[in-house]
Subunit: 430 residues, 2 copies
């Protein structure tokens, strides 16, 4: 058994405290698995006095995580500060420059600066590991980087944000509206006071950008992610989805297309029979399709102290066993520039709901706009005709181009056929 | 980039040919990921002339795989011969004794001799890798050995045999009986001419024994697996399961109990709402529960040339990157002796179907036997009463001990209350 791996933990929030707890609880087990002791030597956080429910006395304390990053008593820095820029980035860069391995749960940092940081890690001869940055406790980074290494991947997608999945699951179960369920989720602590990051899809987009690089060997390109959130999903659409045999999920999807690599985050309707349609509540799931392995799926808790700390500590065990896999599976210098496929060129099927006043001619206007843009209808649903009153008309299309669909919707609005903006949700036929 | 990793492939059946195909197709991609070329140098199989749809001219041919295991031109031997004993074992042992790494898909070999082989690998300072031995393309060995390394696991279970899952899925979809669906599966090539290994649960038990060791750090103990197959599952039971909100799956289940480690393979009824209930056809799935990560699930194709070769080649990439994880996560000498929990002490709920002639007193006999053994009924189902004729009576129990349940069934048979042996299926409340 080699010498102990000395760990410095920067950031003692939920995940930081969880990481300390795992390392304390399973010290013997981890030493057996890693072949050497994994030992916290130093920690850093803003407030020393705060009760975190864990004993920290044995560790050297730093008010400034930058000091921890430079310490001679640390072999690996665990960065759990968060944020794409600022202190977290400084700590990570400094730690690597000082010859230390880095383990981080910081998806924003990796999504924005992943390629640059991977290059820096290789230059310094250290490991940069971020299993905890994507899908919490699910070992999906390892699966893509190692487990599926024999495959050329064609697609990776998933439910990557537990808050959104919880809200959508609860909306379906209760029939309640988005705002109502969000408010409750905030009260229960399942959603942040400022929920924008989650519900507008940004968090999912961060994670997707990382998965894309791992899957396709391309530079991380968060800016190329087409991102929509779940604010517009209504109880009515969930009801229609049920009727049509679908579930609505916020997915992050990356795939190779003839136009380049498509990265998109938006609500999707997926067939009820698919296993991923049954991933409910705070759970995450990732599906990866490879040319030899075919379809594989990975499911688990996407957030929380325990699951995220599980991923952080798995990375530490990897480092202790002897790091030897590049951050993004291939050397950072070999990552290709990602050629983004334009969203306008996306091809797929669509669900659209129009609110119309049921008068003669309305259907003709909608049907005419579809015809004019060569969009072919698959099914149409209307309940409870009430002449002179506002009623929903739902239709699904055959495969068509995003640009044609958007032009169709604009034309229908333009023609005054609808009394509310149409609601469009993409159908994903996995 | 280091020197090439020289691979010898012993066995060129479906998986062997698939492995060669992956290595040929993705040579450049694999070199980028592994940091060095992965190059087949030698192959061996029974019949040299056979057309396998792949070019083998560039490789040195051995009629005897034992010669390949001793070759100086091979760094790693891929054993795809199969069988718990005989040539496969000789090849693996000889390869390690000659300082070569071993990658194998041979679940029988690992289930019967895993601990001994892991010790031999460590003694020789080589890697013994068997991702392909469990659940085909799903990287579950890596997940347990590395991805979940931060956790003490409490349970691992899964759908581990695609043939059984295909038969059960088809029985449910079509309403047809086992023998009929099996015959069709054999005709379609989804089941072997001699299907006993699959349908009697032995293949599942092999895989479960391996998962148990990885999950709990215990010596592989295949003999301790309680094994039942799916021959007794009838269309009628599938119909009742549906009515009760369950699906019937053949599961392998290992868990820590107060009596020791329970390893069992048998048909289970699981709630329809669980994601694993929707794993259909030839797909496999494994669920692992850890103390910090909570529940995680892994799904994919459990067999076939592509998925299994994907796992074999992932192991080769691992070896090429630099092996450094013990075969069973901890050094083989540190594996604990597995203390098997006796099946009679298993606690759970049960589904039982009795075929009775509907006459006064039959219910009293059944109810009396339940009372005598302190087995508490949860629900009872009977359709279509036909006095004087044979009808099914179905009941589910609250949690009880296996021994009590078995004694109850024996007493009911003894009392002459039933006209066929009762059918019992365990309910699993995951």
């Amino acid at each position: 058994m080699g010498g102990a791996l000395r760990v410095g933990v920067a950031g003692l929030g939920t995940v930081g405290a969880g990481t300390v707890r795992v390392l304390q609880t399973h010290a013997a087990l981890l030493a057996a698995r890693a072949g050497r002791e994994i030992k916290i030597t130093e920690v850093s956080a803003k407030s020393r006095g705060k009760d975190r429910g864990i004993a920290l006395d044995a560790y050297r304390w730093h008010d400034d995580p930058r000091a921890l990053a430079e310490s001679n008593e640390v072999d690996v820095v665990v960065e759990l500060i968060g944020g794409a820029d600022g202190v977290a980035g400084e700590v990570v860069r400094s730690a690597m420059a000082h010859g230390k391995h880095v383990v981080t749960a910081n998806k924003a940092l990796i999504a924005h600066h992943g390629t640059e940081l991977a290059l820096a890690a290789e230059k310094a001869g250290v490991s940069l590991a971020f299993e905890a940055a994507v899908a919490g406790g699910i070992p999906i980074v390892k699966a893509l980087r190692e487990g599926l290494a024999a495959n050329k991947l064609s697609r990776v997608y998933g439910i990557l944000n537990g808050t959104c999945n919880y809200i959508l699951t609860t909306m379906r179960a209760s029939g309640r509206e988005f705002a109502d369920v969000l408010a409750e989720a905030q009260k229960l602590g399942y959603a942040e006071a400022d929920p924008a990051f989650d519900i507008d899809g940004v968090d999912t987009a961060h994670k997707l950008a990382i998965l894309t690089s791992l899957a396709f060997g391309t530079e991380v390109n968060f800016k190329a992610v087409h991102t929509e959130g779940i604010r517009e999903v209504s109880a009515l659409d969930i009801q229609f989805a049920d009727e049509l045999g679908y579930r609505i999920k916020l997915l992050g999807i990356a795939r190779r297309t003839e136009n380049g690599i498509e990265q998109r985050v938006h609500p999707c309707m997926i067939r009820e029979a698919l296993p991923i349609a049954h991933i409910d509540g705070a759970f995450n799931a990732v599906v990866a399709d490879g040319d030899f392995v075919d379809t594989t799926m990975y499911e688990g808790r996407g957030a929380g102290a325990g699951p995220t700390a599980s991923a952080v500590v798995a990375d530490l065990v990897d480092v202790a066993r002897g790091p030897r896999v590049p951050a993004f599976a291939v050397p950072a210098g070999a990552l290709e520039t990602l050629k983004p496929a334009p969203m306008a060129a996306h091809r797929g099927s669509y669900y659209v709901r129009f609110m119309v006043v049921d008068r003669p001619g309305v259907f003709a206007e909608i049907a005419g706009a579809l015809r004019d843009h060569a969009v072919s209808m698959e099914a149409i649903l209307q309940h409870g005709r009430a002449p002179g009153e506002k009623v929903p008309v739902v239709l699904t299309t055959h495969e068509t181009e995003e640009a044609a669909m958007q032009a169709t919707l604009a034309a229908i609005v333009q023609a005054g056929a609808v009394v509310e903006p149409p609601r469009m949700i993409r159908l994903e036929a996995f």
